[in-house]
């Protein structure tokens, strides 16, 4: 789909917990295809201190009703202003941006690993993969059960595994402590991960050891989101690459990560 700036109407603003909401936004025209892992850059116009747009991964896409949704975690003024978006208000959204995940062949067995609000693009990916008859396992990590949101939604598409740091849900510990890594790593032909950098690096390290295909979705700071400012670069084996156009999804073999 061509990138464009569209006015999307807030059709619902669903509060999941203190700092996470799902915004459902409706386009006035037929949505064109959006690839899982792509993102949108949203203008925050009701806030004095937010100058640039804010990037968010598509959480799900409903082509029937022309509704896209975003899972947003409030961390600063931009996100918190968006969490207050009223139903029927209109957001100025630039999309779709970035490359997205490489889809597996049908029937491949894949593992999706998410942490924090980094889980967002993985639901969209799971939706698409489930239509591709992939076998999907999804591992989500959080600090505590109260941070684990939307579990029922993930379960519709994937075998769900969880870890919590306090042991209040699933296995206790960090995501990479989960038994799935010690037991059946090689049964997965691909691992897709999104979340805090240290988590992604730990997952990438596991994948590298077992030579499993692994893609990570990065969240560098961005000014434009469509490849013109060159602010969002990451070091790759081919030099600096823009996360907004050549990413946000990178194969770990491309990155110069110390893992």
């Amino acid at each position: 789909m061509r990138k464009s700036v569209q006015d999307l109407k807030v059709v619902s603003n669903l509060r999941l917990n203190d700092d996470q909401h799902i915004l459902h936004l409706q386009a006035s025209n037929q949505l064109e295809y959006i690839h899982p892992g792509q993102f949108a850059n949203i203008l925050v116009d009701q806030s004095k201190n937010v100058f640039l747009r804010r990037p968010f991964s598509f959480y799900s896409v409903d082509y029937q009703n022309n509704i896209v949704s975003f899972l947003i975690k409030g961390i600063g003024e931009g996100t918190r202003t968006l969490l207050n978006a009223g139903v029927d208000s209109v957001l100025d959204v630039l999309f779709p941006l970035g490359n997205g995940f490489t889809l597996p062949e049908p029937e491949e067995k894949v593992l999706l690993v998410g942490g924090g609000s980094g889980v967002a693009p993985l639901l969209h990916l799971a939706q698409v993969l489930s239509k591709n008859s992939n076998k999907i396992h999804m591992l989500v990590g959080a600090r505590s059960v109260s941070d684990l949101v939307e579990m029922d939604n993930y379960k519709r598409y994937a075998n769900l595994h969880t870890t919590t740091e306090d042991g209040s849900h699933g296995e206790k510990g960090f995501v990479t402590d989960h038994s799935i890594f010690s037991e059946g790593m090689t049964e997965f032909s691909r691992i897709y991960t999104c979340g805090p950098d240290p988590m992604m690096k730990a997952v990438a390290a596991k994948a590298r050891v077992k030579s499993v295909f692994c893609e990570v979705s990065l969240e560098n700071s961005m000014a434009c989101g469509f490849g013109v400012c060159l602010c969002c670069v990451v070091q790759t084996i081919h030099g600096h690459k823009c996360v907004c156009t050549e990413g946000p999804v990178f194969n770990i073999n491309q990155l110069k990560w110390q893992i």
Partner: protein
């Protein structure tokens, strides 16, 4: 429709809306959004003779009504530009200009020589004001002798229109403007970014990998407008206004202050259609105020 035609030395502009270097990529990134040929011209990314990786990440900090960048002239080098990018720009019917930078006078000259061979490039904009590189860059633009020296040297090898882009990080920008005019600049464009800094109070570290960076956006508009006004009274060559232009009203202010053309920078990050909207808005303004020609407002501030 008012007549928006204007001229920067030998470059005929169908309208006075240009895009600022480093904020419009090579133009092609905007093809999804609008027909770039509608603009008066585009100024592509800062180009140096040698390829540059630019500075380390993080390169950006958001500020109040603006941003700091520390990109550091990441580009593939002039030979790569000529062989790989230039061919893609041949499709444009509007003016394409190249922003030229270097760490030494020799590098500026070598880069300009390569661009000089490219027929479809209408002119160069000599960047003697980049605050984000260790050597050269802004250093040339903050003293009259060094500014004049670069301009002089490039003038010898570059045949077409040479715009010189000035740094605002100086005590008296009119001095520098007169120095480069004397050395053969065909036009001056201003302002480049103001040198600024951002700190993350929580981590107690600078936000940018380079500690300081270049401030752009509406926050710098009052300074830019003042400098354009001062310089347009100090030199005879055309002045191109840059700095925080977000909408047509901002652009009109720069024309009134004396700018013959303007460049849209950071605004394109927030709205990729900004430059086109500004162009339309300028026309609306002229019609609403019954002016037939953009010249009717250039330098027409009533004192």
């Amino acid at each position: 429709m008012a007549d928006l035609k204007t001229k920067i030395h030998n470059i005929k502009l169908k309208n006075p809306v240009l895009t600022a270097s480093g904020t419009f990529g090579y133009g092609v990134e905007f093809d999804d959004f609008f027909d770039v040929d509608l603009l008066g011209g585009i100024i592509v990314k800062g180009t140096t003779i040698f390829p540059r990786q630019g500075n380390a990440y993080p390169r950006m900090a958001e500020t109040a009504s603006g941003m700091l960048n520390a990109v550091g002239l990441q580009n593939g080098g002039a030979p790569y530009f000529a062989s790989d990018i230039y061919p893609k720009l041949l499709k444009y019917k509007t003016n394409v200009l190249v922003n030229v930078s270097g760490s030494t006078i020799e590098e500026y000259v070598a880069c300009a020589e390569i661009i000089n061979e490219l027929d479809h490039i209408s002119g160069i904009e000599l960047n003697i004001s980049c605050p984000n590189v260790k050597e050269g860059g802004m250093a040339f633009g903050i003293s009259c002798p060094s500014a004049a020296a670069v301009v002089n040297a490039v003038k010898k090898v570059y045949q077409k229109t040479m715009i010189v882009k000035l740094s605002p990080n100086v005590t008296d920008i009119t001095e520098i403007a007169r120095a480069v005019e004397g050395a053969g600049a065909d036009s001056v464009s201003l302002i480049n970014t103001l040198l600024g800094m951002a700190i993350n109070a929580e981590t107690r570290k600078p936000v940018l990998s380079t500690v300081t960076g270049g401030l752009s956006g509406p926050s710098i508009k009052p300074v830019a407008l003042r400098m354009v006004w001062q310089v347009s009274q100090a030199v005879k060559i055309p002045v191109i206004g840059i700095g925080g232009i977000m909408n047509a009203t901002d652009a009109v202010e720069f024309f009134l202050a004396g700018a013959t053309a303007i460049q849209v920078g950071t605004a394109s990050f927030i709205d990729p259609l900004a430059s086109l909207k500004i162009l339309k808005g300028i026309d609306d303004y002229l019609n609403r105020h019954h002016f037939n020609h953009i010249n009717d407002i250039i330098g027409c501030l009533q004192m």
